[in-house]
Amino acid sequence: MHAIEHAKEAKEFIESRGRATWHDSALWFVRAKRDKAAQSLPEWEILRETASQIKQHTASRLADYLEKFEANATRLGATVHWAATADEHNRIVMEILQKHGAKKVVKSKSMLTEECHLNPDLEAAGIEVVDTDLGERIVQLRQEPPSHIVLPAIHIKKAEVGEVFHQHLGTDAGADDPDYLTEAARQHLREKFCAADAGITGVNFAVAETGEFVVCTNEGNADLGTSLPPVHIACMGIEKLIPRQKDLGVFLRLLARSATGQPITTYSSHFRGPRSGCELHIILVDNGRSSILGREDFRRSLNCIRCGACMNTCPVYRRSGGHSYGTTVPGPIGSILAPARDPGQHHSLPFACSLCGSCTDVCPVKIDLHHQLLTMRGEVKKAGHLPALKRWGMWAMGIVLRRNWLYGFLGSVGRKLLPLIPRPLIYNRMNMWGRQRELPQTPAKSFRQLYRERYGRK
């Protein structure tokens, strides 16, 4: 697989697809709603700090809490499975489905199953798997991955939704009214819910002290998808754990406000064991998380509650689109998680960032995102994945900027020469600064010359 070059993908999104401004405004609108929701709570910053502490505390004794959760969930009648890798996770899901002879599966928003690439595995085994969140269904029908973790189809225009629905659901050609299209999806997915042999969901929070877990949706898809078929498989990363039931109060207050500006999602369902006569399976997935836990600089990235706020606020994400990251989780948090796992493949992501720090301030669990991104740049360099031009450029700069005579000499030569060089030579193809920007006008003298002239050397 080729390493992803974010800058190239971003350029494509901006220049050839011309969607950047539209995409930017759509997400800024979400961010503005989030701001309003946050401002409605005077205790917002305390809430963030509390959430961060709860998550850090949990991380500090994660193994104990996982065992406790397992014991309590089992007591409630669930079956708990452990998967060290994505492959193992997929194998477990498959085994459960095969045991029940399940041929049709409905799935609701689970970034984890995306991360594990579950769908292709199931389809290869002849199992129909339907993503039931409207946005996810849209991207599934278009055969592309979600571009956002909360708003999977944010990059798609309604006319395009109309097209794909016309093709697959038989809606009227050219129809693009969101009410009409949503109604069509409702009818289409109702059939799927009713025909399903099993339901798969993600998990937003799992409570160690009770063994329950919570799934949040606005559409009610996770709920319908698990209250009809006899089997419910809940897939969760091991970082989803929180110690106490009352901690849910903290996180549910933050999650929807941060994600979409709603005070809470429409449905926050608390699952405590299977429906009578049915089965509930919980799969605890590591897939690289325990190794992030061991890296102090990046540990707090495990605090993430997948609200998507850092994407909505990121000026780069908004203008480059989720697909430009080439990862399941895009944006600031994805640019930490992906290179933490595979720095070679994802080396460009920590650089797809102007270090503005907006993500850090918006994050409801106070992950120091932009500092981690900066630290990750150092990791990429250490692992030898920095492009040579950058690496040697910085090395040379380091030499010049430590030698006063060389710096002074190059500076004055540069300032004198630059105005003499014909414009086309300066603004050539290689000059990325000058493609859309003028270079600064060069003054005759440097500051230190002026200072010396006025005050002498002191």
Partner: protein, 248 residues
């Protein structure tokens, strides 16, 4: 009161008037200024590219050059943020670092928190668009930011507001990044320039005559775009305005 001046490399070479404006502001406040000629760069370009090994010697130089000063002041928020928040990485366990960190200030911060300037005796009868540079805002906390729930303030704006006749642009996005971001500006040229153009459009529709910021690097990027687009918007560093330089 004594101040060691830190004039970052690109201001030294490309915007000497910003350095001189800083000198003049401090001079008028009867502050004793020293400019150590051995200084060049804080190491930010390398550190922000992940090249910590190349940046660390520059951090050591910085420490040495300003060892004897009572305060270190710089007209560049991002360089000060570098010293205050990132030197720990470059110089782990350095015994002299804490003192350096606590005496290093961005110019507007210094004027507000240390000198506590109360007035300026010149006017600036223009509509000013204040670009809130990210490092000043979210690293140095020189103002409240739109993401957080906190009382609104801006040290830069409060200083500028002391000038007679000044008016401020009210922006649709009060503190979005301009897209400079150091090597990001060339690395991610498309995104960087679009971010800059979006900022400029916001300022244009708010009626900005003079665009200002506490960081010249943001302004270099924005000015490059403005000049290419041949827009009629003047760009000045906040030190130039506070020093009484005319907007022409």
């Amino acid at each position: 009161m004594q101040v060691g001046l830190f004039i970052p490399c690109y201001i030294d070479q490309l915007y000497p008037q910003v350095g001189m404006a800083t000198v003049e502001i401090l001079e008028r406040l009867q502050i004793d200024i020293r400019f150590c000629e051995a200084q060049i760069c804080c190491g930010q370009p390398m550190a922000n590219t992940g090249c910590n090994d190349d940046a660390a010697p520059l951090a050591r130089d910085f420490l040495k050059n300003f060892a004897d000063d009572q305060y270190v002041v710089s007209p560049s928020g991002s360089c000060v943020a570098m010293v205050r928040h990132h030197y720990d990485h470059l110089l782990p366990d350095n015994a002299d670092l804490p003192a350096l960190k606590s005496k290093t200030f961005e110019l507007c911060e210094f004027l507000t928190d240390v000198v506590q300037v109360e007035q300026f005796d010149h006017a600036f009868p223009h509509q000013v668009g204040l670009h809130q540079s990210c490092h000043g805002l979210r690293e140095l906390r020189m103002g409240s930011c739109s993401e957080r729930v906190e009382p609104a303030f801006s040290k830069v704006r409060q200083l500028l507001a002391k000038l007679d006749g000044i008016r401020f642009s009210e922006l649709r996005r009060q503190d979005e990044c301009c897209g400079f971001g150091g090597t990001f500006a060339v690395n991610e040229e498309s995104v960087s320039c679009l971010m800059g153009l979006d900022r400029i459009a916001d300022h244009e529709s708010a009626g900005t005559e003079v665009l200002t910021a506490a960081d010249m690097s943001c302004l270099m990027h924005l000015q490059g775009l403005i000049r290419r687009q041949k827009k009629n918007m003047k760009v000045m560093h906040v030190a130039e305005i506070l020093a009484g330089y005319p907007a022409e």
